[in-house]
């Protein structure tokens, strides 16, 4: 049984409880007073299928799949407008990240959600050497939707790339090795342990 089904089983009709227990800062969702200031404040608001307040209401209404399979949370640019304006001081940005992460964990993210992919690439990239390798990240980004697509994107961004290199703000040599933390072993140990502890806490909640 997939973790997703396991969670469905565990929390039955109460998605709010599930979010409270499993989503980063999820315990805040119940405090929303439904004013809508977050939805109005979001710079990409018009691109959300469900703006933040609606997501909170959907969570209360138990619309589990609609929420977790939505690409809305992935529209968050982390501008923090909603956080500073929320009259109940809900950490909305973090809740959106938390929901996105949870959806990812349960494997419910829509196919080819670009931000979901990029965010994963970013994480994988930084985990390798402890520091981001912009060149590799850029390449990976171009080719995240397959080779053919990638070449197109690469061509489109060729001029940009050239500019960056000309001005010394992109280094072709980064393709080999590139920047890294010196104590890479230690870094990886630390992160491995952190991941273990994270998994343990998740297991406590059933996923």
């Amino acid at each position: 049984m997939s973790t997703n089904q396991a969670m469905v089983e565990k929390y039955r009709n109460n998605f709010l409880k599930e979010v409270e227990a499993n989503v980063e800062e999820g315990e805040w969702v119940k405090m929303c007073m439904q004013c809508g200031v977050c939805s109005g404040s979001c710079p990409l608001g018009k691109f959300w299928d469900h703006p933040p307040q609606e997501i909170f209401m959907m969570i209360r209404a138990g619309k589990r799949d609609e929420v977790l399979t939505s690409s809305s949370m992935w529209m968050c640019t982390s501008c923090y407008n909603c956080i500073v304006r929320c009259p109940r001081e809900l950490p909305i940005t973090h809740i959106m990240h938390g929901l996105a992460h949870y959806a990812k964990r349960l494997g419910l993210v829509p196919q080819n959600q670009p931000t979901a992919k990029f965010a994963q690439l970013f994480w994988d990239n930084l985990m390798k050497k402890g520091r981001v390798n912009e060149l590799k990240l850029g390449m990976a980004l171009y080719f995240m939707n397959g080779f053919g697509e990638g070449v197109k994107v690469a061509m489109k961004n060729q001029k940009l790339g050239m500019n960056m290199m000309k001005t010394g703000r992109m280094n072709p040599m980064e393709i080999l090795g590139g920047h890294a933390v010196k104590d890479l072993g230690g870094f990886h140990k630390v992160m491995k342990k952190a991941q273990e502890l994270e998994d343990a806490r998740i297991a406590k909640h059933g996923a």
């Binding site: 809508g36 200031v37 939805s39």
Partner: protein, 427 residues
């Protein structure tokens, strides 16, 4: 030197607004000795600055006239204006109050003839009109001001204006030698009725009160609608004096907000509904009124009034806490947000935006003369620890006038219970 005759059966009432006046008059009309202390030069407080009351749309000055006549007639009542309680010593049934009296520079010879005002040149922002207009350095705060006595603005003292005022007065009513004094007198109980102040709208940054001329507060709008107010009752844009027919009211401006005031100020919904009628009365079919709200709190009988306003075709209700206001090129405030009933995004340009500003209690816990139980919102909670000190009206919670008057009438009884027990003990 001011003399105040009082005993420990005297009731001290602090604040001469509707709550303080009510508490003082009810006690005095029951035969108790009362001293009423008011910071402003006149009684009436914030209600004297309102044009109409909801839901009856009647005029606060009507009830004020009755209360002022009651206080003029009542021999048990001593009124100290421009006065503040600076200290209170002792305990329930046996306090000594220290009251600071600021100089008015005008004695009770004043006949309110107005000659000094004509003589003086200096002008200052008129606090009675929340700075929307100017007044002279010698002024009667407003036409119905009680006591009906002029005031000299301390800023003209020592300037030629002060001498001009003195020279102009035929009745030797101007006394430039007046200075601050502190009087001490006993009292058995104290009623704290210092009311509320409008929340500082500039702190609500997304709404641009400090940047956009045509974003004003509900208290300012109230002065604007008053025919005796700074615009002669015309509803216009501060930026260019153009008629403001498209007016937006934004509810919970500072209230129900952990970034500002935690509490619901209770009155703002009704105040905005009332102000909707000002705009609709002024412009009829040409009016275009939007109320942006979270919950409309038209509690109990007042629901009728909500229905009445909903029936006005020109009034729209939008369930939304707007995200921000920006001014467009013509100075129109554009309200941005999302209508949460169905999630329609909007960017509506209006002539004028009125922020339904929240009520902040005027209770300063640091300067409060005795230990007092306050809640997190800063209001006084009824508690035995407060001894013989009782809150009345908006010092105790965000209250409308009706509830403030009820509460103040009750506070009078609480105080009377104390002084009566003193009397019984001494009998």
């Amino acid at each position: 030197m001011t003399e105040v005759v009082a005993t420990n059966e005297t009731i001290l009432v602090v604040g001469g607004g509707i709550s303080g006046m009510t508490a003082a008059l009810e006690a005095a009309e029951t035969g108790k000795q009362v001293v009423l202390v008011e910071k402003r030069p006149y009684l009436g407080g914030r209600v004297s600055q309102l044009y109409k009351y909801f839901p009856k749309l009647c005029f606060p000055t009507c009830g004020l006239e009755i209360n002022q006549r009651r206080s003029k007639m009542n021999p048990n009542l001593t009124i100290l204006t421009m006065a503040e309680v600076v200290d209170l010593k002792g305990e329930k049934g046996n306090y000594t109050a220290s009251v600071k009296l600021s100089p008015r520079y005008v004695n009770d010879n004043c006949t309110a003839c107005g000659d000094c005002e004509k003589a003086v040149e200096a002008q200052f922002d008129d606090e009675y009109n929340y700075g929307l207009g100017k007044r002279k350095g010698a002024y009667l705060p407003y036409r119905m001001a009680h006591p009906q006595r002029y005031v000299l603005d301390p800023r003209i003292i020592g300037t030629p204006d002060a001498d001009k005022a003195k020279a102009a007065c035929k009745y030797n009513a101007i006394d430039l030698e007046m200075s601050e004094e502190v009087v001490n007198f006993p009292c058995g109980a104290m009623i704290w009725a210092t009311g509320w102040k409008p929340y500082d709208a500039a702190k609500i940054q997304p709404y641009g009160y400090d940047r956009i001329a045509n974003v004003i507060t509900s208290v300012e709008f109230e002065r604007m609608a008053d025919p005796s107010g700074p615009t002669g009752g015309k509803i216009v844009r501060p930026s260019d004096g153009k008629e403001a027919k498209s007016v937006a009211f934004i509810q919970c401006a500072g209230s129900r907000d952990r970034n500002h005031l935690l509490h619901c100020s209770r009155i703002c919904c009704m105040a905005s509904l009332k102000q909707c009628t000002y705009v609709s009365d002024a412009y009829g079919a040409d009016a275009d009124i939007s109320v942006y709200y979270i919950d409309i709190r038209a509690i109990d009988r007042i629901e009728d009034f909500y229905e009445k306003v909903k029936a006005i075709q020109q009034v729209k209700f939008i369930k939304s806490k707007p995200a921000s206001i920006v001014a467009d090129k013509d100075g129109n405030p554009v309200v941005h947000g999302v209508d949460t009933e169905g999630y329609k995004r909007f960017a509506n340009a209006h002539d004028l935006v009125v922020l339904a500003i929240g009520m902040e209690p005027s209770v300063d816990k640091d300067s409060f003369p005795v230990d007092i139980v306050l809640n997190r919102e800063g209001f006084i909670e009824a508690a035995p620890e407060n001894g013989g000190v009782f809150a009345a009206g908006s010092a105790s919670d965000a209250l409308d006038v009706n509830r403030a008057v009820q509460h103040a009438t009750g506070a009078a009884l609480r105080a009377i219970q104390v002084v009566n027990s003193v009397a019984r003990a001494e009998a």
